[in-house]
């Protein structure tokens, strides 16, 4: 059994990160457009991923745009109490819930042909490796889709987006032990689903 903790230790947060984030937001508050572009480039894809989860693929772009505009407008209110990613996710979550209250949620599972092609190994120098990885990812995504919404939410935030337990607790308004329990249960449910799917696949 390898020392499993070493891989995950790589995720330890940078102690100077929060200071850099506060400085970036001060620059944005002072009207620095380049700083705003940096913020957008760094966080946009992660925000889109959660906007798709909290709303729909169709509305995710608009929600993220709105949230980034909010971040620009209210940059001086960022105090660095939470990480910048968590603060931005708060904005996305609020805007997604506002959007959902206006229109009923429509979950579009269809993928574009290009996306399917990339997952099938298109454009890759090692198609077999990419195909295997895509297959593993597709299986994992299918299993995640079968989780209950609250399980899917916590797995996406904690394991896919890489938020810390404390950040998840801040974002979802829960206590840290509650988050730990929820994460543990959701991961075990996911492992059980994957096991069932693999057994079915083998038959």
């Amino acid at each position: 059994m390898p020392a499993l903790h070493t891989f995950w230790d790589l995720n330890l947060s940078d102690p100077y990160q929060r200071q850099r984030e506060r400085e970036l937001m001060s620059q944005i508050a002072a009207g620095d457009d380049q700083a705003f572009r940096m913020l957008s480039d760094e966080h946009k894809s992660a925000l889109l991923q959660m906007a798709r989860f909290w709303s729909s693929a169709e509305h995710a772009d608009d929600i993220v745009q709105e949230s980034l505009l909010n971040a620009y407008r209210y940059a001086d209110s960022y105090r660095g109490e939470a990480s910048l990613r968590t603060w931005l996710l708060h904005l996305v979550r609020n805007n997604a819930f506002k959007s959902r209250s206006k229109e009923s949620r429509e979950y579009d599972k269809r993928k574009s042909l290009v996306q399917l092609g990339i997952e099938a190994g298109w454009g890759s120098e090692n198609p077999q490796l990419i195909a295997e990885r895509a297959e593993r990812k597709a299986l994992l995504r299918a299993a995640i889709d079968q989780l209950e919404p609250h399980e899917r939410e916590i797995i996406t935030l904690r394991d896919i987006q890489g938020l810390t337990t404390a950040e998840c607790a801040t974002l979802l308004g829960e206590k840290i032990p509650t988050i730990k329990t929820k994460v543990r249960r959701a991961r075990l449910r996911l492992a059980a689903l994957l096991r069932t799917m693999k057994i079915e696949e083998a038959q």
């Binding site: 059994m1 499993l4 995950w8 995504r141 896919i160």
Partner: protein, 61 residues
């Protein structure tokens, strides 16, 4: 559920996330490692669980 060292398989299951995250104290970490080195079922489950978490992290790429 079997018992190896100071921990049962259920104890290991409860501590597995903190072990993978490097959040266990030295004593607990040693106890988990002792159990994993002797219990093939937990060792095998731990490996699959670790691979699943790695694969989840790759979904963000």
């Amino acid at each position: 559920m079997k018992h190896f060292g100071n921990l049962s398989c259920a104890d290991v299951l409860e501590r597995l996330d903190d072990y993978v995250d490097g959040e266990l104290n030295e004593v607990d970490k040693k106890n988990v490692e002792t159990h994993l080195s002797q219990c093939s079922e937990c060792e095998s489950f731990g490996q699959s669980y670790h691979v699943m978490r790695q694969a989840l992290a790759e979904l963000s790429e």
